[in-house]
Structure formats: C-alpha cells, structure tokens
Amino acid sequence: MFCRVTIKLILVTTMLLFAVCAAATPFVDYEPIAGPGSLFTYYLTVYNNAGTEPLAGLIVWNGNSAFNLDDTSDVNSPLNWGDIPPFPGLDDGLTYFSFDTSTDVPVDSFLGGFSFVSSTDPGTLTGDDFQMVGIGSDDDEQIPLGDAVLHVPEPSALFLLAPGLALLVRRRR
C-alpha cells in the first residue's frame, strides 16, 4: 500500500514539474501578501525562460488603472534597478529598469525583488489587469509577457513535501 501511494505521489509530482517546466516562455509570477493595513503587497519575479535576449526592463502595464499606483506609492526594485511610477492621465505603466547590462535578467534565469503596495485586492483582478511587458536588452524594445501568473510552490518544495505526505498517509492507515 505504501509503495502504491508513494508511486502515485511521485507521478503527480512529476506531472506538476513538467507542467511548470512547460512554461518555456518569459513570464512574471506574483505573490500577493495582505498588508500593510488594508493594503496588499505584490511581490514579482520575472522568469526569462527561453527568452530571445536578456531583459533590461519590466512594465506593470496597468499600474495606475488596475493597482492605483502613482508617484506616492511604495515601490521597490532589485539591487541596481530603478523605477518610474505611473503618471495618471499620461502613462498607466509602472516601469522598472536595470541601470546596467550586468544586472539584466539573462536568458533562462530569473530575478525577484520587484514589489509594490496597492489598495487593489488580488481577488478582484480580472482579465488583463495584470498585463506585463518586458524590455529587451539587445534591441531595447518591448516584449509582451502576458498576464502575471499567481505564484505556485516550486517543484523542489513539492519534492520535499512528497515524502512527508506519503508518511502521513501511511500513518493514517
């Protein structure tokens, strides 16, 4: 019985791993955390999976209209990156930029450390609210990254969880 459950768990975990690896295009994931107060902090990580060039910039396309961001908002960037907040009425986007090519996001790499505080409840996000655009390092042009995806636990974490879950199942029986 134990072996059967373990094999099933390994199969499920492997399928999840393949599902995650299948996202072989650049994308951004986000993890919303409640706070401070009634606000929400959104943590972003950009994955330059199978990208055609390093990424030198990142734009939260609907920064003002979807997240109410402006020049008073609390916005944080990774080391050696900066940001220009949305300008309501003129520019809707929150733009992050890398000061130097050495801090760009290389192909098949990822970079976290982007965050902003917003009054928007993540549960109310719809459609293309969380549309993201990258800036390529080679041609300095925009690269559509689609909608940011909600953060899921890493495959390695699932692998670590699997034996524990298997033990739990075994003990219950």
Binding site: G82, G89, L90, D91, D92, G93, F97, F99, D100
Partner: protein, 141 residues
C-alpha cells in the same frame, strides 16, 4: 499667471524604425510671465522654478533624476501645439550635471530630448507612444 506643466509616459526612439523605449515623468507648477504674444503664439517664461523630472533611456542606459529646473520657457501655439525648453540641474547616472531639455507637441505627437548642457550629448530622447505618453500645460490667472 500660474502655469502648470506635465509631461510623462513611454517614448520610442524613432518609430516605427527603432522602437527602443524610454520613460519620462516631468511635473512643474509655478508663476510665469507672458514675455511675448502674437496672434499665432504666446510665450511664457517661468519666474520661479522647481518641479521634478525623472527619465530613463533603455538605449543609452542613462538615468536622469531629481532634476531641479533653473529656467523654462513655453510657447503655446494657437493651433494647440506646444514648444517647451529649459535648463536644470540633476543627477545623471548618479553624478550632478546641468541639462538642457526640449519637449514639444506637434500635430498630436509628443517628443522630448534631454541633453548634457556642456557637451550637448543626448542623454535621453524619444517620440511618445500612442496612448502611453502625453503633455499638458494649463494657465490660470
């Protein structure tokens, strides 16, 4: 008169040939004098300046921040076009530099350029991307 000026958004180097991106935010509000007025245009010169300007050009990797405007002139044309030019002192890639800047709107198209005042090297420049950049100037007595 009190004149308020905003420019901001995402700009492209030379569309559609070269769509290299730059971002700019510039806001300024202050007292200005009418220094010239004709049937086709009115020129305003700021008598007290301040404001703030930030820009980043992905092609040049120049970051222009904390610009304190030291002079500014705006020409408002009767057809709605704008020509704004001035000087300022700001941080360019972390070092203090004097800059020249020009912003204009002609036929609904917004353009800007920021140059090093000593060398006239272009630090950042672009043409406003449709729907993502703009310029506005309002005058109140």
């Amino acid at each position: 008169v009190r004149v308020t000026f905003f420019l901001g958004g995402k700009f492209l180097e030379n569309p559609p040939v070269d769509d290299a991106v730059s971002s700019v935010v510039f806001a300024l509000s202050g007292q200005a004098q009418v220094t010239s007025s004709t049937s086709s245009s009115t020129t305003y010169t700021w008598v007290n300046t301040g404001g703030s300007m930030s820009a980043f050009d992905f092609r040049t990797r120049n970051s222009i921040a904390s610009v304190q405007v030291t002079s500014l002139t705006a020409i408002v044309f009767s057809g709605g076009d704008l020509q704004i030019s001035g000087t300022g002192l700001g941080m360019v890639n972390g070092s203090a530099q004097s800059v020249l800047f020009n912003f204009n709107q002609t036929g609904g198209v917004t353009r800007y350029s920021i140059q090093n005042m000593s060398t006239l090297t272009t630090l950042a420049a672009g043409v406003g991307e449709s729907g993502r950049a703009g310029i506005s100037l309002s005058v109140n007595p």
